[in-house]
């Protein structure tokens, strides 16, 4: 029996919702625990790696930058020849060679930057991977064994303060565990045998009590090992879209290679027939080639992919592959669990409805008294509502003769006997029986009100004072604040949302309507979920879902994007292709946004890269042939000073634009949830038209500087 003062409490807070961010903004600007974009340690490491990556064999997988490197080697050889013979424009050749090498280095740097961020994170994870001594159960005895020697199927015991030696399942006991190593979240979590909270991760720490664990992973295959490999990018494979884009830019490189190589005979013919000027040197031809081939996207492509994975990681979601992140951008249908995702988890009292002849204050008073000892979230919410609506504060009940009747599945009601009153609340039919037992008559409107609440998707909770029926408390599922707007944004993006709930269809429909989801799946069994996903996929849609239980595993595996909760079972985590370390199902929406942002960034920089070529032609073509055909000077629309300064400026611009766009590649371009048409319009304007226009003033300005410094 509760002894102390019962002060009405607010409903218990849900697990930390830190990654929820602002609900109206799909992508929170910066997460509290995110790494800064440029941190000195990362910068140093990336700079070093840029040189390591000069190895042509490593560069071969990036055809565009590989061609630049070959070009740089050619111009350097030309420089050597010029130095040996004393002929040619040594200063010009030297500068072009340097800038071509810079171009390669800048591209390497972009990739190294993206990788270094993952590596830094992997390092800090690795530090936690100290080899502890596990207490292995062998028969009736306990033997100390190095954690790294545990194999799947071994059983160990962990006491307070022990580090859990490997991934496993709790088979006996209950304990609080600190999982901050994995999740970065310091609040402990509860792990117990049976049910969906039995999975434990190696490297986490038991804070209290003792548990018995069956190990489920072999050495080197633990969750932590996989996590390290993932963030480090060791297993990184090119995603399908990345491969397609690589084909495109490699193809364009080939086309430009032909355009530049054949320019040599064309120039030969022109020089012969005009009887003036000379055929462009190898240095100039290489410069033209490097300016034309899509070096910007070629240099940034892999960085964009790695950074996309990294952004997912910063949201505390572990993506098992880049493919999963990419697929999330393509998702057409989101399956969202009602509880915890769309609603705040528990039903809450939202109004008191009295029967004829009963005052609202009386009902509120009775409801509050009957709920004072009710520790369920529903009970607490009744107390809160009474306080907020009727100003009823918690009361000293210890001084009164108060006997609390707890809820039981048998009676389906709870209440209090106080000062001779018998206050009860519970299911309407149970309360009706209670009233009849007490010799009273059940008011018709009590039944009517209950019926109406049910129809609207609420849960009626009737209240009686002895033989008098007082009224009904309306318990409702409360849709999370901002959820409607957020689902609206998803709709604008062309994504259908489907609410999954165990509720009956009537209740489900009401909540679905309130939250604004497009469809719902009521009384959903795991098999229903799986079938729904298959049906959607059969009509060409990509489906994303979240899940945590073992029975979610088939659906998680079937879904194109399966986000498993870290609190979930190992089976669920194995089945999904992403794990949310915060176990916040709403995160699915953010993951979709990150996937889209990744694809947009690729498209934007590709478009920008190709559009840039227009200006470069206007810089280099007149420079190449001004001596042969002085009239071609009319194409020198930027008024660049000399042929050499024009070529040099274009090459410098081409190199600098890579480094200038590194932050954009790592951060991703700005993404707003809106229709494809308006996204395309804006991005085409910014990166297409902008890509055509920007290089003109850019190259012009560099030329001014080159001229001023007498570089060419």
């Amino acid at each position: 029996m509760p002894q102390a003062t019962l002060e009405p409490k607010a409903p218990a807070p849900r697990p930390p919702a830190k990654a929820d961010g602002e609900l109206t903004d799909l992508l929170p600007k910066r997460l509290a625990h995110a790494r800064p974009l440029f941190d000195t340690g990362i910068l140093k490491r990336a700079t070093k790696d840029s040189f390591v990556k000069l190895n042509p064999r490593a560069l071969l997988k990036n055809p565009v930058i590989f061609v630049v490197e070959i070009g740089a080697i050619l111009t350097t050889l030309a420089l050597g020849r010029d130095l040996a013979t004393g002929a040619g424009n040594i200063g010009f050749t030297l500068q072009i060679s340097l800038w071509l090498w810079f171009t390669v280095l800048f591209a390497n740097f972009a990739e190294a930057m993206a990788e270094a961020r993952g590596k830094a994170q992997a390092d800090s994870l690795r530090k936690t991977k100290t080899d502890s001594i596990a207490k292995k159960v062998v028969g009736a005895k306990i033997e100390p064994v190095a954690a790294s020697r545990l194999r799947s199927g071994d059983v160990v015991i962990c006491d307070t303060g022990d580090t859990i030696p490997g991934d496993g399942e709790v088979i006996d006991g209950i304990a609080t565990v600190d999982e901050s190593v994995i999740t970065g979240e310091s609040a402990p979590v509860i792990r117990e045998s049976g049910g969906d909270r039995s999975a434990v991760t190696g490297g986490t720490k038991v804070l209290s009590d003792q548990i018995r664990i069956r190990i489920t992973s072999n050495p080197g295959e633990t969750f932590l090992d996989r996590m390290i490999a993932l963030v480090e990018g060791a297993e990184r494979q090119k995603t399908p879209n990345e491969i397609a884009l690589n084909i495109l830019i490699a193809g364009l490189t080939l086309i430009f290679l032909m355009a530049v190589i054949t320019l040599q005979p064309f120039a030969q013919y022109s020089v012969n027939s005009a009887g003036a000027g000379s055929v462009p040197s190898v240095v100039v031809l290489v410069s033209l080639l490097v300016c034309l081939i899509p070096t910007t996207i070629g240099g940034l492509l892999s960085a964009i992919g790695i950074a996309g994975m990294d952004r997912v990681m910063q949201h505390n979601v572990l993506a098992m592959s880049g493919k999963a992140v990419e697929a999330s951008g393509d998702v057409n249908t989101l399956l969202l669990d009602k509880t915890g995702t769309i609603t705040i988890g528990n039903r809450q009292a939202v109004e008191f409805l009295t029967v004829n002849g009963v005052g609202a204050a009386e009902l509120a008073d009775a409801a509050q008294l009957s709920s004072l000892a009710d520790e369920t979230p529903e009970g607490r919410s009744v107390v809160v509502l009474a306080k907020e609506k009727y100003g009823l504060r918690g009361r000293e009940v210890a001084s009164h003769e108060a006997v609390f009747i707890p809820f039981s599945a048998y009676t389906r009601m709870s209440g209090v006997d106080i000062d001779g009153r018998r206050l009860r609340k519970g299911a309407t039919s149970a309360i009706a029986n209670f009233i009849r037992e007490q010799g009273g008559e059940v008011p018709q409107d009590l039944l009517d009100i209950s019926e109406r609440i049910s129809r609207q998707g609420g849960t009626p909770l009737a209240v009686a004072d002895g033989r008098r029926g007082l009224g009904v408390i309306n318990l409702k599922d409360v849709v999370k604040g901002g959820m409607k707007e957020r689902l609206g944004q998803l709709r604008a993006m062309g994504i259908r949302t489907v609410m999954i709930t165990g509720d009956n269809p009537l209740t489900a429909a009401a909540i679905a309507a309130e939250a604004g989801v497009d469809d719902f799946l009521a009384q959903a069994s795991p098999a229903d979920k799986l079938n729904y996903i298959k049906k959607e996929q059969a009509s060409g849609r990509l489906v994303a879902m979240t899940g945590d239980g073992t029975n979610d595993a088939p659906a998680l595996a079937q879904a194109d994007v399966g986000l498993a909760m870290n609190t979930g079972t190992m089976a669920a985590k194995e089945a999904g292709n992403m794990v949310d370390l915060d176990s916040n199902p709403t995160k699915l929406i953010e993951v979709v946004a990150i996937g889209k942002q990744l694809l947009i960034t690729r498209g934007a920089l590709t478009t920008f890269s190709i559009a840039n070529d227009v200006a470069k032609y206007f810089a280099i073509i007149p420079a190449m042939f001004m001596a042969t055909y002085p009239v071609l000077g009319k194409l020198n629309v930027m008024g660049l000073h000399t042929p050499q300064s024009a070529v040099l400026s274009a090459v410098i611009f081409n190199a600098l634009i890579i480094i200038a766009l590194v932050p954009l590649a790592l951060r991703g371009v700005k993404y707003r949830p809106e229709s494809a048409a308006s996204l395309l319009r804006r991005n085409l304007l910014v990166y297409g038209l902008g890509g055509i226009l920007v290089p003109f003033p850019g190259i012009w300005a560099i030329d001014q500087l080159v001229h001023l410094l007498r570089l060419a």
Binding site: A259, L292, G329, N332, G595, I600, Y629, A677
Partner: protein, 596 residues
């Protein structure tokens, strides 16, 4: 530009617009194998074709089988034409005795390399001609060889286009249709009936149709002139309708026996665009959303109008160098003004400029004026039109599948910017499709650039096999400087684009040009078609992703702009260096007073 000229162009465009839907609706039915009003008459003929060929039109072919059928058919018909040309001296319908021991004076010998070039040329729907028809080929070769190819190469183009559309439209399918059925249906129900009508119309306007030997006439000056004869009208109809363009006479549609009146000229123009425009509607109709077809039509129209409104003013402005000598280039009541060099007086500047644009937009290649005599900017337009890959309405079928290739690229590049794996008509554009599109693009531009480059510098000894009479490859040019370069570039561009129009000014009948030109045509046709068929096969196997507001819309003005931009930028980036050393610099030189 004159109001009259603008009116002519406007009326032409409106007529094309008006024809697009009715022709498109009819063709859609034909390709689907549905019954049309022509079936009572022509269905037996269709059946007969299948029976003779021993093919079952109901078999759904995978893309490899489809491509295999196309290749087999092409090789067979090319060999047939080669043999006909080489053996014409032994065959009937040869009143002038070509290829016999006693050919007429001035006849061109049908050498193996010329026969190869021409066989390839007509098989690939290029119809480049390195010989004057009236001085080389017998009536039998003209009719059985050239006219037959005019039908089948056009029909094959339509078949490929329809197969590609099926790739977009079908879901999780193995096949993309039946090549033989598509070929026969296109010929029997579309090309044949229209050609019969047109041939009769041309006859009514004065186009000749006979088997007579050439006429000897005495001119007013008392000199003797040989006037060529032949079955012209029947070939003329399909030459335009099938965007073939290979003339019966060397002067092509400038010859009064091929294109006698402004009215025939207008109808010929309309014939070039009719089927390609109709196919855009077929595309929309088959895709279940006619807006998709109109978007393609709109993009083509924008590019067409841009071209004609550069070319026409450039021609009307005339040559500033001539003006200096007091030659009037302004329009007056009695003269058209502008640059009339190489143009027919009965057509004037507007109709000639329109013809030059239309014939190079579509891969027709018929000419009613000499392109070599266009002003530099005027010459730039046909050259660039062809360098886009003939996607501005383009060849029958070829224009549509070429434009769809650019649509794939445009959707892939820009489509990413909406945050999804790019889709076109609900089909995801992935590695395979991009690879195939790039192969097609690379192959054609490589052929143009590489052979042009080689031809500008390659040296042969006189009396060598490659260029026996003249030696170096550039010795075959009639002009020097950038104009001469333009002539070489035009030859290979026209070949790769399967256009067939000649800039002129180049003597192409030498083994070097006959063989490299032929090779370029083969690349331009088959290395373009095969990757696209592969893409069609891969697309057909995919599911169709339902359209949502998150899908890139491919039917609005935004997409039209995107598609136009992609066509222009990709082509310009590939060819700008070459063009800048050709027509662009020639234009500036003309302004500064130098001509070539």
């Amino acid at each position: 530009m004159t109001a009259n000229g603008i009116l002519q162009i406007t009326i032409f465009f409106l007529a094309v617009l008006a024809l697009t839907k009715p022709l498109g609706v009819f063709m859609t039915r034909v390709f689907a194998g549905e019954r049309t009003f022509l079936h009572p008459v022509l269905r037996p003929l269709e059946r007969l074709c299948y029976k003779l060929g021993g093919v079952n039109p109901e078999v759904d072919q995978r893309w490899t089988q489809y491509a295999g059928s196309l290749l087999a058919f092409s090789v067979f018909s090319a060999v047939l034409l080669y043999a006909l040309q080489r053996l014409q001296g032994y065959l009937p319908l040869n009143p002038m005795g070509f290829g016999t021991l006693h050919p007429p004076a001035g006849a061109v010998a049908m050498t193996p390399d010329l026969a190869f070039n021409n066989a390839v040329s007509f098989t690939t729907n290029t119809n480049w001609q390195n010989y004057p028809g009236e001085a080389t080929l017998s009536y039998l070769v003209q009719m059985l060889g050239l006219t037959m190819h005019n039908f089948t190469s056009a029909a094959a183009g339509m078949a490929i286009a329809v197969a590609l559309i099926r790739g977009f439209v079908r879901q999780q399918a193995n096949g993309i249709g039946n090549f033989w059925a598509d070929l026969v249906r296109s010929t029997v129900y579309i090309l044949l009936p229209l050609s019969v009508l047109l041939a009769l119309f041309f006859c009514s306007q004065g186009v000749i149709q006979n088997f007579k030997p050439y006429t000897q006439a005495t001119t007013l000056e008392g000199k003797t002139q040989v006037i060529a004869q032949g079955p012209v009208a029947s070939q003329e109809a399909i030459k335009m309708l099938g965007t073939n363009g290979g003339g019966f006479f060397n002067a092509n549609s400038a010859h009064p026996f091929e294109n006698p009146t402004p009215f025939t000229n207008f109808i010929q123009l309309l014939c070039i665009f009719a089927i390609p425009a109709g196919l855009t509607y077929v595309f929309g109709e088959m895709a279940g959303d006619t807006r998709q077809g109109w978007a393609i039509f709109a993009a083509m129209s924008v590019l067409f109008l841009a071209g004609v409104f550069v070319l026409y003013p450039a021609e009307q402005a005339g040559n500033p160098v001539l003006s200096k000598f007091g030659i009037q280039s302004a329009v007056t009541a009695n003269q058209p003004g502008g640059n009339m060099e190489g143009k027919e007086v009965r057509f004037g500047i507007a109709a000639s400029a329109l013809f030059a644009t239309v014939t190079t937009d579509a891969s027709c290649g018929a000419v009613n004026a000499m392109h070599d005599s266009l002003t530099p900017l005027g010459g730039l337009v046909p050259l660039f039109n062809m360098q886009t890959g003939e996607v501005i309405f383009g060849g029958v079928g070829a224009g549509l599948y070429g434009m769809l290739l650019f649509a794939i690229l445009a959707v892939f590049i820009a489509g990413l910017m909406v945050g999804r794996t790019p889709e076109y008509l609900g089909k995801k554009i992935e590695g395979k499709e991009v690879k195939m599109a790039m192969i097609a693009l690379i192959a054609t531009s490589a052929a143009i650039l590489a052979f042009s480059g080689a031809s500008t510098v390659i040296q042969f000894a006189k009396s060598s096999y490659w260029n026996p009479t003249l030696g170096p490859a550039i010795a075959n040019l009639n002009n020097g400087g950038p104009h001469g370069f333009g002539e070489v570039l035009y030859l290979f561009t026209s070949s790769a684009a399967n256009n067939g129009s000649a800039f002129g000014g180049i003597n192409g009948n030498a083994p070097w040009y006959n063989l490299t030109g032929g090779l370029t045509m083969l690349v331009g046709r088959f290395l373009f078609i095969l990757p696209l068929l592969a893409a069609a096969g891969s697309l057909a196997a995919k599911k169709r992703v339902p359209v949502t507001s998150g899908t890139l819309p491919t039917h609005g003005p935004l997409f039209v702009g995107l598609l136009v931009g992609t066509v222009v930028i990709v082509s310009a980036l590939t060819f700008f260096p070459a063009l800048s050393l050709g027509p662009i610099v020639e234009h500036y030189l003309m302004q500064s007073g130098r001509l070539f």
